[in-house]
Symmetry: D2
Subunit: 342 residues, 4 copies
Amino acid sequence: MVKVGIVGGTGYTGVELLRLLARHPQASLQTITSRAEAGIPVSTLFPNLRGSVDLAFADPKDAPLAQCDVVFFATPNGVCMHQARELLASGVRVVDLAADFRIKDIAAWETWYGMKHACPELVAEAVYGLPEVNRDAIRTSRLIANPGCYPTAVQLGFLPLLQSAVVDTDSLIADAKSGVSGAGRKAEVHTLFSEASDNFKAYGVAGHRHLPEISQGLSAMAGKDLALTFVPHLTPMIRGIHATLYARLNKAVDLQSLYEQCYASEPFVDVQPAGSHPDTRSVRGANTCRIAVHQPQGRDVVVVLSVIDNLVKGAAGQAVQNMNIMFDLPEATGLESLALLP
Amino acid sequence: MVKVGIVGGTGYTGVELLRLLARHPQASLQTITSRAEAGIPVSTLFPNLRGSVDLAFADPKDAPLAQCDVVFFATPNGVCMHQARELLASGVRVVDLAADFRIKDIAAWETWYGMKHACPELVAEAVYGLPEVNRDAIRTSRLIANPGCYPTAVQLGFLPLLQSAVVDTDSLIADAKSGVSGAGRKAEVHTLFSEASDNFKAYGVAGHRHLPEISQGLSAMAGKDLALTFVPHLTPMIRGIHATLYARLNKAVDLQSLYEQCYASEPFVDVQPAGSHPDTRSVRGANTCRIAVHQPQGRDVVVVLSVIDNLVKGAAGQAVQNMNIMFDLPEATGLESLALLP
Amino acid sequence: MVKVGIVGGTGYTGVELLRLLARHPQASLQTITSRAEAGIPVSTLFPNLRGSVDLAFADPKDAPLAQCDVVFFATPNGVCMHQARELLASGVRVVDLAADFRIKDIAAWETWYGMKHACPELVAEAVYGLPEVNRDAIRTSRLIANPGCYPTAVQLGFLPLLQSAVVDTDSLIADAKSGVSGAGRKAEVHTLFSEASDNFKAYGVAGHRHLPEISQGLSAMAGKDLALTFVPHLTPMIRGIHATLYARLNKAVDLQSLYEQCYASEPFVDVQPAGSHPDTRSVRGANTCRIAVHQPQGRDVVVVLSVIDNLVKGAAGQAVQNMNIMFDLPEATGLESLALLP
Amino acid sequence: MVKVGIVGGTGYTGVELLRLLARHPQASLQTITSRAEAGIPVSTLFPNLRGSVDLAFADPKDAPLAQCDVVFFATPNGVCMHQARELLASGVRVVDLAADFRIKDIAAWETWYGMKHACPELVAEAVYGLPEVNRDAIRTSRLIANPGCYPTAVQLGFLPLLQSAVVDTDSLIADAKSGVSGAGRKAEVHTLFSEASDNFKAYGVAGHRHLPEISQGLSAMAGKDLALTFVPHLTPMIRGIHATLYARLNKAVDLQSLYEQCYASEPFVDVQPAGSHPDTRSVRGANTCRIAVHQPQGRDVVVVLSVIDNLVKGAAGQAVQNMNIMFDLPEATGLESLALLP
């Protein structure tokens, strides 16, 4: 049994980790911390866990994190970087679901996230936890930077095109739509039901924090710098990301075969039949990314549709997938539940 | 392994049965029939099943139903009664998720459902599959009438009050709210997104088919006839039933204790702490009924709040629970998944 | 032209007042105040007003409220009572959309609202602004307590029954469902989209602030004390209240005629045809209350369905209706827009 | 007063026409036809109209369409082309809200719409009713092809760029998101609440009927053929279109000024301040198109955000705007209502 701790479990990635880990046959949940909610049973905040998770939130200073095999940080950006060094020194492996270790360029990170990095030396060591790209490195890593939700959907969508170098890299477009849970469980006006329901809007067109993360990943796939236009949109649904990707083909290629071969052995990427339009509900609550690829009217523009559940494959599910890889468990352990539809 | 067949799997109770049975460790799905969709892979209609359920819909005339241990009917009302006799004769046990065997009074059934009953002799034999009331009878039954969604939420909410005879039985009120999936997957105008979203309405106030089913069950609990006013409402959510129940107390009683004791050993009924307001999402995708009991301002009116997922505890989950009981499996087998929240 | 001021226009009742008054042919909007947003154009917060309302929020201390004919308070509870005395002394008429002047029993008000009343002497003078009950008093009043949203729907639904004394008054039940905008535009977790969407729950069963307001109104109609059980529910829609009301008939009466006659001359109450189920969207954005009355199975329980838009007939629209009455304008002036459907 | 008839008023564009025309001070609604609903009061289908529209649906063969000044066709594609010739001959002006007269290339129309055109000679005469492009021609036209919803949002978004020839025309992208009402009021499974709610998907990537309409309009603006990739998406909201447009700049230009100047005198196009992200609810129920223009990171890609209400500026509102122009009424007559927010 893998002994697991969670730091900061009061947000949506925290409750999602709990939902998955409570039924994970090889994980033993030791502690979950929250300064603000210390002493409160987890099931008071998240009634879906009543009867299944008996823990109360622990004060961070009392929590036996150092006795865990792995600790997940389901915290805001900038928390994990202050605690990772000490945990790693205790032999605990760390998975950060926030952004502290995602960007290799420290100066870029500090600009986009508006704070000084507390342990830049660990950034180099951290492995970006996208199994479809970095599975081997994840296996032996002690520090995982779990990818963001948009970056997961966009990178998995572009990967076959960039690896095979069949598209121009100076005009990539990612038009991405996210459910509102992507904004977290903070009380804010713009994510109130009465603001976000029955409404649709773009945001952050001038620049979103996931842009440098995506660009870094795509550049690594392409082996060169590239230019990406990334436009996120807030969509009136709870969960789900739908990335609609556009690129210009520079050679003839059988796109369907390219995608099917690229992901043939991946347990959590499902290439849809030709002509498909995956919907976000087909992955609701599941760790799957479903992808379809189109070439409208046979012209030189490729359109990729990539959907995930932002809280699962885009956060907690991928974190558990990474844990499974790190501890040599079958990769799908605890992640077998099917999407809830309708 | 229990060999399972499903008749009529193209609706929401059908896909929900598939979602649950595909991950049930003791069930082996043999066949699923649909005349209209014969030959089509199940996952074409329900993409959440892609990669997990490889069956195609079978033509009813070709399906090996007689070789199954149990057959679920996820069909419209009036189908199972035409096929149950033959299947039972073959030694197959039958669970009807529709209403054919729910009402013991054949004449009443024929009035409310507008058709002649095809096998009234089996109605007497059929066991009403509410485990909290009829567990022992379910165990040995070969024909289960799986309860309706409203009836499940309302009966579980009233049960402790009626068993203990602490309320007037001539003025019971059930104000029930259902998600739109309760209306099924038929193409109809009033359940279109643009009609049902951002909207709320009552329906069937003059009389709803679930009224005689509920009244029959409540009367059995009370040991006498009673008068129930039942008002269903269409609520802009996909899944979930919230029954708000009102009754007049005729003696002093510790309501919280009454409910906790009644359901102390039930695996799928969760009595909430005093003062609680269970929300429907706390059971989304789960087989749990959560109940809270209130006595506002200490007056003689008891208010019960009872929530279920209409497709799980109100349909497919309860059917699997019944199967588990019928085949001496641990009652929660295959029903352990936690509710999806948010 | 009636010169109008608004105090505290950053919430949903504020923007709704602006939407209505911007197109009111006899109202001239002079100023709208907000301490927090002073200097910010109204249309920055509420982009639907761009091009139609050019005002910026004014600092309360600079706003020419004393030069207005009428001032609306679209503020939290407890604000108007501190400013009403001075404005009235300046000859300005006041409409409070909050609760400061709704409850005649000062001690009860202070208990339910948790604060000391700042000007109890005005409570007696204030007229409760439900035109269907108090039209004549409204006409000459200088201080209007605009009714709450639940109280409007519930009182209009019960009025014909209580005025005609055809129901028991010791067992009234109001099961009410509100859209999320009823909770206002405050940033709170429980009204986030990801919490309130695809979900349904009761709240405040032990006691809600609208209970004493409703009871006061119903008692006045009945001419005696009465017992009401009031259970509000949070519904996943933006606007709308649906009150489902239950009462026990104590004499035979033609309910349909009773309702039609009671409201025959009311411009904003629409009694639906017998057998109807009004939906909330039929009044979305409109100042109408639509009511249907049922007697299920001909028994002695009457069920009333009453729907309003909580922000219009339940707040801003009713406030404008009151203004029209106060200034001898045709009562529907500026309130003619039809409900938005779908 | 303009005497108005409506053919086929049982869909969403029909009810929206009725909502607008019922309050239009210069329009007099003479008749509305529906074969299926003949004799049924309009308000039975659309309860928001109760008390305001007293008409019943007329049988088409009895309706006094020839006595009208203008007849709107709110019918499926392929209806107007069979009746337009006769009405025009009677001196009635015709506005078709369907697609019969939108595409000048008859062969292309027949391919995309899958039927033979019944009166190709009128296609040449018909004026495409986008006032911002064709106002003068609309004024004197007797046959208006009212634009589709996607085409309105996309064309208004691209117009300034194409008129000024500042972008490449071989790589235009329109990623468009529509509320579900865009699919109409037909009973279909994929637009059921339980299918379309809490879900997001692309559709018609291989080719959508609005593509040739948009391409035709954009080509006319650019003065040459161009290549457009158009991907529509189904969004879980009732009303609203959000078009996110991408183009590659081929010269330096002050985009904000370009847009502001282009639309300076347009009553129904609102260019947002620089850096804005218009949301669809800011035009809910209103005839406005709100547009923002961005140049992310100062690179050579321009991103345009264009929002409309698909039923108003995308259908019925634009039809009324066209009527106002045709009959020399002030262009905003009957279209002054502000968007409903929240």
